[in-house]
Amino acid sequence: MEPMDDEYLWDRTGPPDEDVARLEALLAQFAAPSAEEWAPLALPGTRVSNETAVSWRTWLAAAALALISIGTAWLTPRQELPGDPWRVARVEGMPTIAAAPLARHSQLVPGRWLETDARSSAVVFVGRIGRLEVEPGSRLRLVTATPGEHRAELVTGTIQAQIWAPAGQFVIDTPSATAIDLGCAYTLTINSHGVGLITVQGGWVGFEHNGREAFIPAGATGRTYPGRGPGTPTYAEASAALRAAIDTIDQVDDAAAQAAPLETVLREARPEDALTLWHLLDRVDVSLEPLVVDRLSALAPMPPGVTRDGVLAGNRDMRDAWWDALDLGTADWWRTWRQKWNP
């Protein structure tokens, strides 16, 4: 045999060593099954039990029956929907699916995690409706992949999404909010603390968490905070002072803490920052709402049928009508579709 190249033996970098490569090819037949192929473990109900072979079989049979029952019930109303699988292609490094190294091309099935380390990335084709670039350091779990409904969970990392489906067919859950695509292109980053940052390049995105909403159009960014939900969107061209003040407002609740940054926001706001002011209606303390309403009204007059008192009273129809008057997209989309995303 010829001398080896130990770089290839070490991590497959460097020119392939002929002997090592030959042995790899020969011995691959002895390799472990892929992560998906391993038979499920028949775990006992508790870790401390002294289970017997009979109890194992009993437990296994019961579990199998339960799974079949659940699976049948779950699948029955969906049987008319063929799957719309997510295909994954490795771009660099060694991403994994369910902890197993990703072949150059693979499929991501619901329930499985796609993960990239600091040096790997992947491209995901979302059924027939879009494309995600999964950047290094990301963890993404596919939840649903059927025509008309694609849903995944991004726990950490960054995805760049380009979705060309009708609004509402692509949803990303994060630790702090749910992002609903409304026909757009965006970049979503979740940091290690679960704080999210979305930047929308085209179309717009809805963020929602426990009834707190944010609508983020192209050119704007929005944050989400664990336990609080979506923050207030701002345009990238808005002044740095305004954006910094918004970050403060989004993370405090009492009027005293919000008053000073709100003064900055009201002073710095341009007509296009009506986007930001409209969102503040639901975010500032009730005692500060009149200040926001008056400034917003100066920048974007209320449409017919919308009154100051009605807005201050929290009339949802009036607030939505005012949103529609900003000409950033209709709130009707959101109100209709969100029932499906967040039943």
Binding site: W10, V20, L41
Partner: protein, 206 residues
């Protein structure tokens, strides 16, 4: 001409770090079977490689399950969740020793071939084997037999690298050995394997 380094930096990032196991271990310690299933699928390949050094492949897949069932039962005793990978390997090594004690010393190639033929759930691999030429199959049997004759440190490392397809950094992360140690084991193990295979003319024909 390559050499076996006494010490050399390992500069390639591993796909996983032991910290990645922590939330799953903690959830599993609270009884979450789904989290344990994630750990099982994440580490099964590594445990498989450790066991393959001494057991037939049919036995190995059963032993892997036995290792993780043992781990599930004893999970409450694991104090450092980030040590899960090394911990299951320790269990695997103990089970491997027990297995060898109660089984034939080491199966013959014929016996392993017989095992392969009746390996039910390994259908996909079995199909792949059938596609391989008879010569390749024989060479593979001889190569794995030669690896099994090596000292344990070299044997395990080479199985993980050549059979399971793990890289040196991945092996280091999974075993808890330093990258330098793994690198030395790979290099020296490969040197011994070359000698063993040259002696049996088991490698490729030139």
């Amino acid at each position: 001409m390559s050499h076996c380094p006494a010490e050399r930096p390992a500069d390639r990032a591993s796909a996983w770090s032991p910290q990645d196991d922590v939330p799953f271990v903690q959830a599993a310690q609270s009884g979450d079977a789904a989290s344990f299933d994630t750990l099982y699928r994440r580490h099964a390949r590594f445990v498989h490689g450790v066991l393959l050094g001494l057991a037939t492949r049919t036995d190995v897949e059963d032993l892997v399950q036995e290792v993780f069932l043992t781990a599930w039962r004893q999970l409450g005793t694991l104090r450092d969740p980030a040590a899960f990978g090394g911990w299951v390997v320790t269990i695997a090594r103990h089970l491997r020793i027990d297995h060898v004690r109660r089984q034939r010393p080491l199966e013959s190639l014929d016996a392993e071939a017989g095992d392969d033929a009746r390996a039910g759930p390994r259908g996909r691999r079995h199909a792949r084997e059938q596609e391989a030429s008879a010569v390749d199959h024989l060479e593979a049997q001889r190569a794995i037999a030669a690896i099994r004759t090596l000292p344990e440190a070299y044997r395990d490392t080479l199985v993980l690298r050549l059979v399971e397809g793990m890289t040196g950094p991945e092996i280091a992360r999974s075993t808890g050995l330093t990258p330098d140690s793994v690198r030395v084991n790979l290099c020296r193990g490969m040197k011994l394997l070359r000698q063993a295979l040259d002696g049996t003319a088991a490698t490729r024909t030139r």
